[in-house]
């Protein structure tokens, strides 16, 4: 089954991806992120046609704890964040928990 890519973020962030052909874009203006970003993430997570979610790393701070946890640990669709380091999107914490060493820190 073919799936699509979804982008969640401010209109400035999503415009470039729309230019590359991504049509599932959830535009949330910067000043409404605290109220609307959770709903946008939930909508995308529930969409079976979405295989990859693209978000800006700093936008994750606007999410509630449960929504952030849901999107960070989701495997299908999987989250890819932009603007953060290699350990963004909760991966760094997961590595520390599973391996016991901060491997991302070592590589920096």
């Amino acid at each position: 089954m073919s799936q699509e890519i979804a982008v969640i973020g401010s209109p400035d962030f999503t415009t470039g991806f729309r230019l590359a052909g991504v049509r599932k874009c959830e535009n949330v203006p910067d000043d409404e992120k605290d109220e609307q970003l959770d709903d946008a993430v939930e909508r995308v997570l529930e969409d079976d046609d979405v295989g990859i979610i693209i978000m800006y790393n700093d936008d994750l701070d606007h999410l509630s704890r449960s929504a952030r946890n849901a999107v960070e640990t989701s495997i299908e669709p999987t989250l890819v964040t932009l603007g953060g380091g290699a350990g963004s999107g909760g991966l760094r914490d997961q590595i520390k928990r599973a391996i016991g060493i901060d491997l991302m820190d070592e590589e920096d």
Binding site: G16, L19, G21, R23, I52, I75, I95
Partner: protein, 231 residues
Amino acid sequence: MAEDVKPTRKNLMAIEDRIELSERGHDTLEQKRDGLIMEFMDILDQAQDVRSELSDDYKTAQRKLNMARAMEGDVAVRGAAAALQEHPEITTQSKNIMGVVVPQIESTKVKKNLGERGYGLLGSSARIDEAADAYEELLETLILAAEVETAMKKMLEEIETTKRRVNALEFKLLPELYDNQDYIEQKLEEQEREEIFRLKKIKGKKEDEEREEREAEQEAEEAAETVPADD
């Protein structure tokens, strides 16, 4: 709890069997955990490379988009973005790494030529084309990053599960089984000592009885010998 088990030989044999099985399982799981960590290290190197590529591509794409916005205006860029008709699609297949099913993502229609973009040659400029090109390249790297990071997440989950199982065996199940084994062995030894003591007691009692019997017989014989003859 060690006191919950009945101190019988049958239970001791069953516990010894469980200890053997648990130790074997513990060794196997430890090997699996180490193997998974080694595989994970390979993927981690790949992920670091993809991440740095992603960061570079994002910066380039942003710069080109900002340039297009500055030169052509935000409305023209948004207009071009809205005109696109071909949409990138991804298909997921799976690959097995040490029992962990990880995805292999294949993408189609990410890179498009000018004709496929749908906004026409006349209605746009080279700046918008460059920005679209850069974002298409970024999407390709993003898809690769998604594949690698999903594989990492899945492997980390499996490593965590295996680690928890190894720890449960090492720090919970095996110590309990060893405690139970010690408890039953001690109880059985105690029972054996009690049995020996009881047998000794019985033997002593029997010997006392036999001695008393013998003494009584002897006294009777002596009494018979000392009776004077009538003639």
